[in-house]
């Protein structure tokens, strides 16, 4: 599979990094050759310096035989033009990064697919969507949908008073008995563990669950959390992400947004209804206290600076805010910020990359989670498979991998030890990178 990526920005680099592990043939196009040199060194992929909207550059990149063209520069018109030209020059599938929400909402007006763009992706709006989900279940660190309304994947941090602390998973098994949720991974000290029955849960562990819709509540109970309700939100930073969050959520929550730049602040104030805007520095403690940060249920920090975001979140935590969300683009800071107590992290490029992966790879690797180095894979059980009609606890399943849910006849099921697989089941497997190949072999 030949992939061309236009734009060596954060999203482009991250996509290249992910795809490079899976596929051989990646070409990265960007105008800045210094940037490309860095990427070439780091990832060992082919790069071309030039404008992605030029015929010559695209042809040079081998557009004729490209299976996939991803245009993710920060300039929207460039992305659209690149995809239009690329499609005409032979690319089989094209994805363009956009900023203008109208294109996403009113897809039919232009019929972009007919013009030559197969998929649109807007990192900021995906990040805003994650924030929206996260506010719906605020005690969870992250939630995403695995399958329809049946299966969710979610993370919960274990705190002091949880009944499961210092007990092994097997010991707390009676709490699991209603088969509406299961533990699939534990993140401890920056290391990802795939749990076995004798793993003891410690204070500060971040547990990842797969749960049914009903199981969501149970997960919260299991981890010893009380459900909270979010009403008042403080957003720090009027970045594009902040703007989308305000636009999306303004009607449903009481929102106050703090922005440093007066011009930006005025522009947003003029255009976004139902949101109160404050001009000031979100990293200024006096200002945050003046704006009564402690009265907010949630603080969302989405300035362009990850350190500021983490700091504001910690400050908010300190003032008793129940839910803090920080945008952290620097992935090196994930582990620390989670450990220090930021509830939820969002990351535009990961959101965008996950979205792109889901679109193009349909099943192979479903998603990447924040902070944990594990993957979800998807397999279909063959008719004559040796593993059917047998409880899964009797399998000789690879280590560091766990079966974490099944789709059968269009419905999702949680797979505890007694579950038996049937032909044509679709199985989700959660595994560490080193077991990925073993798992694939197991299902063959």
């Amino acid at each position: 599979m030949k992939v061309i990526i236009a734009g060596d920005g954060e999203v482009g680099f991250y996509l290249a990094e992910l795809l490079e592990k899976e596929y051989q043939d990646i070409t990265l196009i960007d105008k800045q050759s210094e940037k490309l040199a860095f990427t070439e060194n780091k990832l060992g992929i082919a790069t071309i310096a030039g404008d992605a909207t030029s015929y010559k550059v695209l042809k040079q990149a081998g557009i004729k035989n490209a299976d996939l063209l991803i245009a993710v520069t920060s300039v929207e018109p460039t992305n659209i033009t690149t995809c239009l030209i690329g499609k005409k020059l032979g690319a089989k599938y094209t994805i363009a990064r956009i900023n203008n929400m109208e294109y996403l909402v009113d897809k039919d007006t232009l019929d972009l697919r007919n013009l030559g763009i197969d998929e649109l992706v807007s990192p900021e709006s995906l990040a805003a969507r994650e924030v929206k989900y996260s506010l719906k279940s605020p005690v969870l660190t992250e939630v995403f949908n695995l399958y329809k309304k049946d299966l969710y994947m979610m993370g919960v941090r274990v705190e002091n008073d949880a009944p499961i602390i210092n007990r092994s998973i097997a010991e707390s098994a009676q709490l699991l008995s209603n088969s509406s949720f299961m533990i699939v991974a534990v993140l401890r000290d920056g290391k990802t563990l795939i749990p076995s029955g004798d793993l003891v849960i410690l204070k500060g562990d971040l547990l990842y669950f797969v749960a049914s819709d009903k199981g969501k509540e149970k997960v919260i109970q299991y981890a010893g959390k009380k459900p909270i309700k979010i009403k008042n939100i403080l957003i720090i930073g009027g970045s594009r992400t902040g703007k989308y969050i305000a636009l999306r959520l303004g009607e449903y929550y009481n929102i106050k947004l703090i922005e440093k730049n007066l011009e930006t602040c005025n522009y947003l104030a003029k255009n976004i209804p139902h949101v109160q805007f404050v001009w000031g520095d979100g990293a200024d403690i006096d200002l945050l206290e003046e704006e009564k940060i402690s009265e907010y249920d949630a603080v969302i920090s989405v300035t362009g600076n990850a350190e500021t975001n983490i700091l504001s979140s910690l400050l908010a935590k300190d003032h008793g805010v129940k839910k803090t969300i920080a945008m952290v683009e620097n992935m090196g800071l994930f582990d620390y910020s989670q450990k220090m107590g930021v509830d939820t992290l969002i990351n535009k490029k990961m959101a965008a990359a996950n979205f792109v992966f889901r679109q193009i790879l349909k099943g192979r690797v479903l998603t990447q989670l924040y902070g944990i180095r594990a993957e979800i894979q998807e397999f279909t059980i063959k008719k004559n498979s040796k593993i059917i009609n047998k409880p899964i606890k009797e399998f000789n399943f690879p280590e560091d991998a766990i079966i974490s849910g099944v789709i059968r006849d269009g419905k999702g099921y949680i797979t505890l030890g007694d579950f038996e697989l049937k032909p044509d089941d679709t199985v989700f497997v959660f595994s560490l990178p080193r077991s990925v190949k073993e798992v694939a072999a197991f299902f063959k």
Binding site: F277, W279, G280, L287, E291, K292
Partner: protein, 529 residues
């Protein structure tokens, strides 16, 4: 010749050229009552219209065609043109009244007086040029105060001319000139358009916008005509059919222009029929709605505007609440036989600035008069319509500003206190600018009303009170046209001139006239302090 003089001369040339254009149109417009006079065999009136029309046309042609100008127009020029233009129109528009009053023999004029009545034809009041000027100004500014004591006695031709002057004045002379005389350059057209109307651009070019405005205006008027004609025929079948048509045309024009001239001696009360009064609610209301609003509903098919448009909704709500309140006040005072019938009609007539009268307002109690002045005549209808007053949108803006000001004390210091008004969101700076402009205007407006009320108080007859003086002053400035009787051919000439100035000010929203005075007395140099 030095440079300053050259520019001044250029400016004058440009102003006169534009006024010439207006006069040409006035000349053409006089051809219509000429035809009406001929239909009714009023040959003296026809002659009067012919001569006045030709005079206007040739003066206009002289100014418009012979003056070549290269001066770049500025905003103040447009405002001066508007002020001077309307004054010239009113002066020249008085010609038919004077000429016809002088050339019509007494016995011919006496034939206009209905056979049942016994009075002298009111036509002869117009031998006094001031009365003719007053009538003309009252017509073109859509006021409706009148010097013809007994309307029917001036002849059909002049009656029609009065209604027509209101109708043309309603949508605006300058807008008409822009629509007809296409040679105006883009910039001057844009500037001029802004002086007379809401300045809302409906089409990409101003010429097209002006044409659209006139099309809508004509359309709504035709609708009113059919509505009134059919309605009158159904309610009063025994009426003479040609009379119905003549009255309906006139009332459709003066209703749409919210002018208020009537073809009857005692306005709409002349029908002496309650259903006929109810029938006339709609034309008044239609006239008070903004023309851009019609445009959005009928051309752009934005039907949700009907209940979403702030001005339209506020006018309808004010009509309902205000008329009930006024009726209640009148019934408390216990003076009138039918307080609700009079209260509702008079409130709508006052708010929409129409000025059709069914009640003897002189007899009202003081609270009711003050209420109708402050709660209806000063407020007026929608900006972008033909009404006078400060316009309902400005009143709403001031109230919104007050709430915003109070509310802002509850925000933290660094908050951006955005305010939403009429579907638009304003930043504090923008809102303060809007508020300052609006408050200044409303302040000047009320100041002028009060000054004129005092002038009235010292010059009016002994039968009237200070509330009557306030009422008459507000009606002139708001171009409403209701009268409690002070306006009369026998009134003091100074008072008459005061009202003429007030009507002129009211139609142009004051500022252009002040700029004209500033230019005359202080020149065009900016005052540096």
């Amino acid at each position: 010749m030095n440079l300053i003089q050259a520019t001044k001369l250029g400016t004058l040339k440009m102003i006169f050229r534009q006024i010439g254009g207006l006069l040409i149109i006035l000349g053409y417009a006089m051809a219509i009552p000429l035809v009406v006079s001929l239909i009714y065999s009023e040959f003296y009136s026809a002659t009067g219209f012919l001569f006045s029309g030709l005079i206007c046309y040739f003066i206009g042609l002289l100014l418009h065609k012979n003056i070549k100008t290269t001066t770049e127009p500025l905003n103040r020029h447009a405002l001066i043109i508007a002020a001077m233009g309307w004054l010239s129109i009113a002066v020249m528009g008085a010609l038919p009244f004077i000429i016809i009053a002088y050339i019509t023999p007494v016995e011919v004029a006496q034939q206009f007086v209905p056979s049942t009545a016994d009075y002298q034809s009111s036509l002869f009041y117009f031998r006094n040029p001031l009365h003719a000027f007053f009538e003309s100004m009252s017509g073109f500014t859509t006021t409706g105060l009148t010097m013809s004591v007994h309307e029917p006695s001036i002849g059909k031709g002049l009656l029609f001319y009065r209604s027509l002057s209101q109708w043309i004045g309603g949508a605006g002379f300058i807008v008409l000139a822009l629509a007809v005389l296409t040679q105006s350059s883009g910039k001057i057209a844009f500037l001029l358009y802004g002086t007379e109307s809401s300045g809302e651009r409906l089409r990409p070019t101003i010429i097209d916008t002006a044409r659209s405005i006139w099309k809508i205006y004509l359309g709504v008027t035709l609708f009113s005509f059919v509505y009134l004609a059919v309605g009158t025929y159904l309610i009063l079948p025994e009426y003479n059919l040609t009379e119905i048509i003549f009255n309906s045309i006139n009332h459709a024009m003066t209703g749409q222009a919210t002018g208020g001239f009537s073809t009857f001696d005692d306005s709409i009360a002349g029908y002496s029929s309650r259903p006929m009064e109810i029938l006339h609610f709609l034309p008044m209301l239609l006239g008070a709605l903004s023309l851009p609003f019609y445009f959005k509903v009928f051309y752009d098919k934005e039907f949700k505007q009907i209940w979403k448009n702030l001005q339209t909704c506020s006018i309808i709500i004010s009509c309902i609440l205000g008329s009930l309140l006024l009726s209640w006040m009148l019934s408390k005072a216990d003076i009138l036989a039918e307080p609700y019938r009079d209260g509702v009609f008079q409130y709508i007539s006052a708010l929409t600035g129409t000025g059709w009268q069914t009640s003897n307002i002189h007899a009202w109690d003081a609270p009711s008069i003050v209420f109708i002045v402050m709660g209806a005549m000063v407020v007026g209808g929608a900006a972008g319509s033909t009404v006078g007053g400060v316009k309902i949108i400005r009143v709403l803006l001031l109230f919104k500003g007050l709430f915003w000001h109070i509310n802002s004390y509850f925000f933290s210091d660094n908050s951006i206190k955005v305010v939403k008004f009429n579907e638009k969101r304003f930043l504090p700076d923008e809102m303060n600018r809007e508020l300052a402009a609006t408050a200044t205007f409303v302040f000047i407006y009320i100041t002028f009303v009060l000054i004129a009320a005092f002038i009235t108080y010292y010059l009016m007859g002994p039968d009237y009170s200070i509330t009557d003086a306030l009422f008459e002053s507000a009606t002139a400035q708001g171009t409403v046209g209701l009268s409690c009787g002070i306006t009369h051919p026998g009134m003091s000439p100074i008072l008459e001139i005061t009202y003429i100035i007030q009507m002129w000010l009211g139609r142009l929203e004051i500022i252009p006239v002040l700029i004209l005075f500033r230019t005359i007395f202080l020149g065009t140099k900016p005052k540096v302090e």
